[in-house]
Symmetry: C2
Subunit: 337 residues, 2 copies
């Protein structure tokens, strides 16, 4: 027996919107958050699909997230825009700021957007994808909660601190990646713990700073960055540019503010956009074609190009809907009561 239920993408979006509205999110917030989860569910589900509804509702229940604050977009310099999310979830703030970010990138050649004072529950993938669909090269960075020790260290200091990148491909879906700078997602380690499996080596250390594969010990100790001291340096870079540089919390400050409540991380995000047309003028098409040659050369030698699998899943989901585990659907639908 297949213990999954098929939903159309519209049904997924409708379910997510209703759950979020039921728990008090204002209509624009509910729609923006539901859209992000719907993309995640269609692109392969798992941690970034409607599973996130459980985390969002639990964050709402802590009372630590604003439900109906309209983001405030502020033009601070010809190349800089700031969006104050007012303690609400991030997606609506990003959506409200994107047109200004894109307009500035086109006017100036490059622009940055600082989204501050928001609760993060979603991947950065949809944001860099949206920037790239504007024909711009996009970057996104955000700290989270201090769960990750620096390479060679022993105490949690960095968040999972993702780096996301989007590259416009004429006539095609953008090339996008979104990677934690931690060796694994926290959810993956939590899953090992629940199932009593050891975590792969290199994922974390115990509270004494010793390498361990005991998932419970890692949850009490610290996660590790990917790629040793190089990944650690990148995690530190994200911590600085998406924390102090945008005037918002570091991962250590976010988890201190949380004080054990278990809410989603609070803080900011840094987004960058560069306009290839301003950089390259009339030659932009020929140079983007050279970019296509690089991307094609990845695929033609049998290596995986990030995002291709995701877009294929999305097309399939648009045609056939998605299969959602019945247990998850039951848990989500229970949130409507």
């Amino acid at each position: 027996m297949d213990d999954r239920e098929r939903l159309t993408i519209d049904e997924v979006r409708d379910l997510a919107t209703r759950v979020l509205s039921r728990h008090g999110l204002a209509p624009d917030h509910a729609e923006a958050c539901a859209d992000v989860m719907t993309i995640g569910e269609g692109d392969g589900g798992g941690a970034h699909g409607i599973f996130r509804l459980l985390m969002c509702v639990s964050t709402i229940r802590t009372g630590k997230v604003a439900l109906d604050v309209e983001p405030v977009v502020r033009d601070v310099a010809p190349g800089l825009v700031k969006v104050d999310a007012g303690g609400a979830f991030a997606p609506l703030a990003f959506r409200r700021g994107l047109p200004t970010l894109a307009a500035k990138a086109r006017a100036v050649g490059i622009a940055a957007m600082a989204v501050t004072n928001c609760r993060h529950f979603a991947a950065l993938f949809p944001e860099v994808e949206a920037i790239a669909r504007e024909g711009l090269v996009g970057f996104a960075f955000t700290p989270s909660h201090a769960w990750v020790a620096p390479a060679g260290g022993s105490k949690p200091l960095f968040g999972t601190n993702p780096i996301a990148f989007g590259w416009p491909r004429p006539g095609k879906d953008p090339f996008v990646f979104d990677m934690a700078t931690s060796a694994a997602a926290r959810g993956e380690i939590e899953l090992c713990r629940r199932e009593g499996r050891p975590a792969p080596s290199g994922w974390g250390i115990d509270a004494e700073g010793k390498a361990t594969t005991d998932a419970a010990a890692i949850m009490e100790g610290a996660m590790l960055p990917f790629g040793g001291h190089k990944g650690s340096a990148l995690a530190l870079m994200v911590e600085l540019i998406a924390g102090p540089l945008v005037g918002d919390l570091t991962s250590a400050e976010s988890i201190a503010v949380d004080d054990g409540a278990g809410a989603a991380p609070l803080g900011g995000e840094l987004l960058l956009a560069i306009d290839p047309a301003r950089m390259l003028g009339d030659a932009v098409s020929s140079h983007l074609a050279r970019g296509e040659a690089v991307l094609d050369a990845v695929v033609s030698q049998g290596a995986r190009l990030p995002s291709l699998r995701r877009y294929a899943a999305r097309r399939r989901a648009e045609r056939e809907g998605v299969l959602v585990p019945r247990k998850l659907l039951d848990d989500v639908r229970a949130l409507l009561d």
Copy 2:
């Protein structure tokens, strides 16, 4: 017997300048290149010190580098500056463009500089350090020659594609890192080959795409990115943003143009600068102080903060000079004949 000779930093700079001038570099080029190597020698020597003179002179001897072309700085948009190096070495082009990049970042909040048509022999460290010493947050990216296969692939496609980052620290040397996105530097693998040692596992694959620790087989096959598919995605990002986005060669194109001559990589560089003062206004000092807390928390738990060792070596070199292997000095001085 200590087979090294002590030189003051001024003697190192003088030696490098004379060698480069002797081989035809115009005075400004010789000075800019010598400065970069002198920083490298003082900061710990090795591959980025005056050892690079051997590589520079061998590149000059291929006839593939312009010796006396003055870089052309072009203002292309309020946030974009381009520097055409005219086929010369990169350091003078960077030096000529930096004031415009910094002025634009201060005026607009963020700016990008594309340095194109140059030969790369140096680390990106001195460039992001110089940006950070202007009080700006700096990033630098460049492709090289196609030596590195994508994760899961079998053929060289990416260069060693470094990512460098600089962060201003009030009253202190900037925090800077400069990392190849390859698992190792090409020189490290070459060293294993020369000494008949196996290369550490994960550094490369043979010409059939199989994992190997045979350094000679890696040199004929392909190097690998650091950190698996995440490092590979970052290498691809660098390839795109510092190749096609600046209108210059990819690593595959650079090595094709080289056609076995063994010259330094030809191509471009992308540099970004963000002004924290424009982003944060009056609050800039307090937020930079929060950045200091993050950096201090790395050091206080015993983890290594990139660049601290380098600055310590530099201070020592300024006081005591540097010890240079006599064999290297002999080889370098022979270039004066």
